[in-house]
Symmetry: C2
Subunit: 196 residues, 2 copies
Amino acid sequence: MKKSEATRLTILQKAFELIYVKGYQTTSIDDILATTQVTKGAFYYHFKNKDEMGLAIISEILKPTMEIAFISPLQSLENPLVVIYDMMHHLLLENPFLKPEFGCPASNLIQEMTPWNTDFNNALNELTHQWEEHLIESLERGKQSGFVRKDVNARQVTLMVMSSYWGIRNLGKLDLGNDTYLPYLKELKSYLNSLH
Amino acid sequence: MKKSEATRLTILQKAFELIYVKGYQTTSIDDILATTQVTKGAFYYHFKNKDEMGLAIISEILKPTMEIAFISPLQSLENPLVVIYDMMHHLLLENPFLKPEFGCPASNLIQEMTPWNTDFNNALNELTHQWEEHLIESLERGKQSGFVRKDVNARQVTLMVMSSYWGIRNLGKLDLGNDTYLPYLKELKSYLNSLH
DNA sequence: TGTAAAAAATACTAAGCAGTATCTTTATGA
DNA sequence: TCATAAAGATACTGCTTAGTATTTTTTACA
C-alpha cells in the first residue's frame, strides 16, 4: 500500500473509533489529528471537509464491517431462526470491538445525524436496507425449507429483530453489561422459536 | 405562578424541544436564549451551568411527560397485552409531540449522554427503570388475571417491548413515516398475542 | 415609599471549532 | 537527475462556545 493511502486509512479507522466512542459532532478534527499524529495539511489533502470524511467512514469502514458481522452470517442455508439468534448473541456478547457503554456505531450515527444531514441519511439508509433485505431473504428461504412457519411475515419479523437489537444496545448503555443483554437474548430466542 | 418561575419554566420547556430536535451537545445556550428571548444573565441566575439545566429538564419535564404517556396507561386493570399495544400505537402514531424524524427524547439522550456523563446516566437510568418496573408489574398482574400465560417471563418481555420501541424510533428516522411503524406494530401485536 | 434582595441585562473572556493560505518535503517518471 | 506534482507541515483566520463580571432593573415588604 502506498504511504498516502495508509495515512488516509488510519484517519478513517481512528476517526471511526473516536466517533463510535464520543459521537460525530463532538469529535473534533483536532481530536482526530491528535490521535492519528496526522497534521491538518495532510487531513485536508485527503478530505474536502469533515462531512466528506464522515461519509467515507460509512462507506469504507462501517459498511464493510457490517457486511462481515451483520450480513455474511445470513448467507447460511441453516435454520435462519438459529442463525439470527447466534448472530445477535455474537454481536452482543462476543464481538470484541462493540462495547455496551458505546452502543452500536450505526445506530449512534442514525440517531445523531439523520434528522439533519441528508447525505448521512442516505448512506445510513442504504446500509440499513441492505441488512433488512438480507434478513428478509434469509427468513423467506427459511419458509421454503420448512424452518419458518409459512404465515410468518418476514419483513415484520425483520423489523422486530432489527429494532430490538438497536434498542437493547441503547438500553444496555444505562446499566452496562449482561443483566440487560442476557434476558433480552432469552426472550429473543423464545420469540424466534414461536415463529417455527 | 411567579414571573421568575415562569421564565425558568420556559427555559426548560423550550430547551427541551430544542434538545429533542437538535441534540443536547449541539444545542447551544445561545440557541436557547435566542428562542426563549431570555438573556444570559437570567439563564445563569436560574442554572449554575448547562448540565444543571439538562438534569432539570430530565427531572422536571421529561419525567412527568413520560409518566403520563408511558406509565399511567399501565395502571389499567384491563388485559396488559392490549394496553401495551395500544400505548405503543398511540406513542408511534398519535402522540402530537413525538415526530418520527426526531425519535424519542429519552432514547436520544441516553444515546448521546450516557457513556460520558454519570449524572445524566443516573437520571435516565431511574427514568428507564421506572418504566421497566411498571411494565413488569402490569404483565405480572396480567398473569394473575389470566390474560398472560403463566410461563411468560415478564422482565424478558418488558425488555423486548422497550428495546423494540426505542429501536423502531431509531429506524423510523431513516425513511420517515409509517412504512416502518405500521409493520412493526403488526408484528408487535402478534408477538404480544403469542404471550396469551 | 424606601430599601434590600431577587431577577435580568450587557459586555466580556478564553478556549475550541472548521477551514484556509502558504510553505516544505517527498515521491515519481521522463 | 531533475522537473513536476503529490503529500504533508505550520501558522493563521473568523466564528462559536460555555461561562463570568459587572451593572441595571424589578419585586417584595417593612
